[in-house]
Symmetry: none
Subunit: 197 residues, 4 copies
């Protein structure tokens, strides 16, 4: 989302805000018009229709998320450190762009998303990449990287939902415990301690 054009920028921001809060179908163009402070005709010059707007927002946000998380993967560091950094970036993203991850997850199979949008991976690629890396190093349990990534991403989303939808206050500290939980979930654990019934 490069905000060269001011009107275009306003529309995108208004769309993000409104769609995030109340979904695609419940938002009318006149709300977008009012919120973005442009006329409807201006809207139509910049976006072919309402669906194109939501698709553009969706893709912008997916790419933004991906690039933010990619920054966590620094070759030089141990996977443990990289994982911790990944988790930190996920939390930072949610802090900086509140509601966006929920938007992405909730809208993911909306009828209005086009093929191009749907083709984007839902689980952010850097998470899968790290899992893959660890998997090749035999540092993870013997499971496919995508499954391991699902544990990580699924847990994270769940925590976000708890906070935003159910007004559960989770401290930073608690979220870091969750990081540790998921680390234990994915890593190979050599001890037999846990295998007991």
């Amino acid at each position: 989302m490069i905000f060269a054009d001011n009107k275009r920028e306003n529309i995108l921001l208004a769309g993000l805000k409104l769609f995030t809060a109340r979904g695609f179908e419940n938002i009318t163009l006149s709300e977008i018009q009012a919120n973005a402070k442009v006329t409807i005709a201006t809207f139509y010059r910049h976006f072919g229709n309402k669906e194109q707007l939501v698709n553009e927002i969706y893709r912008d946000m997916r790419h933004l998320l991906k690039s933010k998380l990619a920054a966590a993967l620094s070759e030089g560091e141990s996977v443990r450190v990289q994982y911790r950094e990944l988790w930190a970036q996920m939390m930072a993203f949610e802090r900086q762009y509140p509601g966006v991850i929920s938007f992405l997850e909730n809208r993911h199979h909306g009828a209005y998303l086009d093929e191009h949008s749907r083709a984007l991976q839902r689980i952010p690629q850097p998470i899968v990449a790290l899992m893959d890396h660890m998997h090749r190093d035999r540092a993870t349990k013997n499971a496919s990287p995508i499954l391991l990534a699902a544990v990580v991403w699924g847990t994270f989303i769940e925590l976000i939902k708890l906070r935003s939808q159910e007004h559960l206050s989770l401290s930073e500290e608690e979220l870091w415990v969750a990081e540790e939980c998921t680390w234990d979930a994915i890593r190979a654990i050599d001890t037999e301690a846990g295998r007991s019934n």
Copy 2:
């Protein structure tokens, strides 16, 4: 959802199917009419409006899920066995009622849900109950039961999404690996092996 009344039953089933597949807002009453093979006016005899229908379906399904999972918690068994059984029930539920869990998760903060529906816990109570039980026995990591339950439920939902939305085929075996992952995620791990950076 007791299916004494045939027309009512048809409407509920049609609603579940349609709302699950395409969301609340995108479904029109005439689609429900066509699918349930009743007239729209008959629909209005049984339900005050479209929102009441979706609320009733939502609550029925939340209760069904809860009761199915509650069956997994048998006092006599070890927590490891109970956890395994819980996971089995979750998978069984998804198998028996495909799409229902996605429906519940996706609709959970729809604008159309009434207070009564919203008041229902999103994370199934039996999961929290088991976490709570383990927590009191100091069998879990030092985290609140709800957070531990979030790891479990979040992971499970993520796997379901991968299968249904992204057509990723996950074998039964792989899902059981995930069960083991989450077990490691929640349980207290006494060895220091995993703490290394």
Copy 3:
């Protein structure tokens, strides 16, 4: 309105009450059902449809009004006394059946009235009869009896409206002043006192 049948009576009374208060179109059969404490099917056994009900009520009330006012015209009395008695009966009717005259006036050209109902004179016949009588005796101004009756009836309705619709409190005494006004309006006035400009 002969109330031989209890159910029929209940329906007629409910209809009168509801139609009077809120008009024909705004009343649903289920309100009538609820108010009359009969089922809709029972309604349909007694009345062909909603319109037949309102027509029957309308005609019943027109006849009732007419017969009450007719009682005022006693051959033996002077026309002044008869007029006074007529006015008394009009007030008594409004007191005994509040809202009914408004109902009759307001519904008089409703689309739902059938030819039979419409054929009924709106201005109660006894008023016209007395005007006619006085006219033949040259006791009135030189105007058609129907016009004179219009002055009387129009004034009376207006007073009723003031009381019921605009919550203007008019004392009995004031209403009798109106009676005197209308008497002056209709009677021949021999003096030239009033002719001055």
Copy 4:
């Protein structure tokens, strides 16, 4: 009702015509659409809903009537002349805007009128003003101006109804007799001639 906007004007005129003829509830938007030669959606651009339309028409007409009658009250003239002029204006109004007075009277306590509309006096204020003026000059019977106005207005409405609803032909001349009747009704009559029983 300033008819700057053509579509808006058409809708108002169509509404007046249709509501006058057949009441509020019996008129559908598609009839308005057909009559005003605009689409329903255009209707909704100009008026929030059907009720807003009828309220606007109602108020416009009340104000129009009031201003026309106010023109009759010229300070310099005797009250007799003013009264005659008032009556002339009332007849002129009915001639120029046939049906409008009936519309105003019949709709006056419709459920669809809002508070603002209901607040408008039903009996045109200039009539009351003249009665008040005469009353202070002791030129009327000893009755409140509003009651005297009711005699005038009630009689006039009744005559209109006779003509329009019951197809009674009343000549101009006869209507002027009614004017004289009502003048006798309201004015103080000093002779005792009329008091005889």
